[in-house]
Symmetry: C2
């Protein structure tokens, strides 16, 4: 009987073939023509889980089915919930793909296909590690629960319902998700922090109808003038947000975090050229990575008002509006931010202008302590899988499901990403490194071992 590493080596090409099998199913959740394919993909996973001896179930929802599978409880050991998704983004524009999106092709050590990195390739690492464990070591050393949905790319609406209704069944000590990226090639990473968001729309209105700017200009507040004034006062020149109390709950970066970020091989010049700017900007006193990952921001996402067509129109428009959000960092509460924002905006709103503030959506950030035993176990596991100690990074965006797991199940999530930033998730020629696929499987197997050492 081979040991686990030998088994993985022996089965490597079958794992790759199976990945390609799953990638061939065009499970595009946004495309109603793919409904059968969604069922095929869910069925494929269900059979895979059953073959491993897990108690597996295809859960029907109002939308695409989800697949739930679990191994038996292991007394005195933690329970781990593995989340993933089998749905993929639409593949268009098709003519920008070098090979067809649903005909996986291997080139230069990468498999090219829609869903390769996001998330089929990444999620299968955890399935394959279970197979290897069971084949070489016997029963799993802890209880695993797999929750694989088919609507991640379209908003996870029905997962939400399942999560609320089945929170007892989903009870666990920690969640594991592999749907993010390494810091760079050869630099595996654990994402331990996410930003939250508070998203708003502000509508301002003045006169009851559009006016002639010659006849009326100078006598009445112009709603676009007012909007630019209000928006410009939400942030100062040093990048500090001016909403009263905005920073009250911000968890400051620790010295360890700042040192960790500073040691990362981040090339500012390459970053500038990647996004096509000649200079970076943001809150004074913080590095670029700190500003992207761990400091709150204010960004306007859209603005409109008056005449946007060709040429000139001398209108004094009756209304204008803007969409904007604050990215929040852990401990900032989107509701508290909204509550502080409203009177602040009202205080900035000039006479003659009415304002309407719409709270669009909000989510708190997430942060897993670097001192948590789960985090240490994950770091060890990744090091064992990749042969390289992972770096600890944060991510500037939100992953809503992480927030929901915290809220509903009360647990932290370990974001162990095997992808690379240039994997073109959501774009043409999506790919996933097969070497990273196998490192991921090894890391996953090591993870079960490391996590089983922790008393739940």
């Amino acid at each position: 009987m081979p040991d686990l590493p030998q088994y993985l080596e022996k089965e490597a090409s079958r794992f790759e073939e199976e990945l390609c099998e799953l990638l061939r199913i065009p499970s595009v959740s946004a495309d109603s023509n793919c409904r059968d394919d969604m069922h095929r993909a869910a069925g494929w996973l269900h059979e895979r889980f059953q073959a491993l001896g897990l108690a597996s179930e295809i859960v029907k929802t109002k939308g695409h089915p989800l697949v739930y599978a679990e191994s038996p409880p292991v007394p005195g050991k933690p329970t781990v919930l593995v989340y993933g998704h089998y749905d993929v983004q639409p593949a268009d524009p098709l003519d920008e793909w070098d090979t067809a999106p649903f005909e996986p092709a291997v080139r230069d050590g990468n498999v090219y296909a829609r869903g390769a990195t996001d998330d089929k390739g990444q999620l299968l690492t955890h399935v394959n590690s279970v197979e290897a464990w069971l084949a070489t070591r016997g029963p799993l050393p802890l209880q695993l629960k797999f929750l694989i949905e088919g609507e991640e790319e379209i908003g996870s609406e029905n997962l939400e319902v399942f999560l609320r209704n089945e929170s007892k069944r989903l009870a666990c000590d920690v969640v594991v998700i592999s749907d993010t990226s390494q810091f760079g090639e050869g630099c595996p990473a654990i994402t331990y922090g996410l930003r939250g968001i508070a998203y708003f729309e502000l509508r301002v209105s003045g006169p009851s109808q559009d006016l002639h700017s010659g006849v009326f200009g100078g006598s009445v507040m112009n709603p676009i003038n007012a909007l630019t004034q209000i928006m410009s006062r939400l942030i100062d020149e040093s990048g500090r947000i001016q909403v009263p109390g905005f920073y009250d709950d911000v968890v400051p970066l620790t010295e360890r975090e700042r040192a960790e970020f500073a040691s990362l091989p981040f090339d500012e010049a390459a970053f500038c050229s990647q996004i096509g700017v000649t200079a970076l900007a943001g809150e004074a006193g913080y590095s670029t990575l700190e500003r992207r990952w761990a400091r709150p921001t204010f960004d306007l996402h859209g603005i409109w008002g008056g005449y946007q067509g060709e040429g000139g129109k001398t209108v004094l428009p009756c209304r204008a509006g803007a969409k904007f959000s604050f990215r929040l960092v852990p401990q900032q509460d989107p509701h508290r931010i909204a509550a502080a924002l409203r009177p602040f905006l009202e205080s900035l709103c000039p006479p003659g202008i009415r304002m309407e503030l719409i709270e669009m959506h909000g989510a708190p950030g997430a942060l897993v302590s670097l001192e948590s035993p789960f985090m240490s176990a994950a770091a060890t596991a990744v090091e064992r899988g990749f042969g390289q100690r992972p770096v600890f990074i944060r991510e500037g965006g939100s992953i809503p499901i992480v927030t929901r797991f915290k809220e509903v199940l009360g647990v932290d999530t370990l974001l162990l990403g095997w992808g690379l930033e240039d994997d073109h998730a959501h774009g043409p020629n999506e790919k996933f490194s097969l070497a990273d696929f196998h490192c991921g499987i090894r890391s996953s197997a090591a993870l079960w071992e490391e996590l089983s050492k922790i008393a739940p």
Copy 2:
């Protein structure tokens, strides 16, 4: 032989019938289906001038024809150019008219039809006064030149050409235009000042493509953020424009003007309710009329950037833009303003943002001295025609042709408006008071007499 006033009384209903005749011609310059009607309207005026014994000509242009007619020179007397336009705005929305726009209907002493006040009714007052003069007093006491175009509502492009090519033929001492309004009912007015304009578009761009605001927010200047900051700094809270040197050439209001404006029956509460605002705004230290007529302004006419659709999109957009203008007062030069604006905007443009400033169009303001003998003559004539001394007002908008007459012919324009603000020029149910029509004819006849007393 009746005297002139008796003649006007006797012919009053024929003048009204003739006005209705002209109003029945749907001379919509913007509508290519109306091409024949444009020729019919021009022909109607041409025949009318010929019938009066004037040397009249239909001048073909690349667009709609214009009509030029003149009476013989009168040595030692001024030459007066009367400008008007026979084209009208489109009539739609048709279902908002109580009676058909090209079937003139008289109700409550008003004639309702498209073009009634703008400008057929007003321009005919000067034609009818000539008829009355010739019929009762013999040759005109000064030389009159009539320049009636058919493209006022679509930009006067071909009048521009005629003006440049025929400036000698158009030589005159003063221009008379009746295409504006009285200050209110029973309050005739002479408009002696117009504002100019300097109109711009600013485009700002940052990253080379739209970015994810979670991943990149905080590291790069957001073009909409930048745009609101730049725009908000063009004007301060007291309504003072911040472009360096902006006020250098502003002609301050005289004590006489401020007293004249202050004495006008302007009802601020009624004005607020007319435009639907609860508070007025503008430059501190000036009354509402002063701000509308005689102080420069800064108004945004349009703004755009990022996502304007339903719901939220967490985009950090790569570009944004705005259209805006400064209304200028006499002596401010739009070119000097543009020259001062550019470096000021550049100084406000944050690192990481590129800006492009487009100078769209500019026109200086116009001001006729209240001490000018032409102005005194006009005031006397209006008082004789309306039985009421006119007030001296300004207008916040621009009338480009007034600027062009000043530039090309070197002469001032007397803006003697017989209309009312609620005449619905450009809107449904356009009307013109027949009483004002006749007051206008009487004023016009008096004007020829008063102007003839001035040595050219």
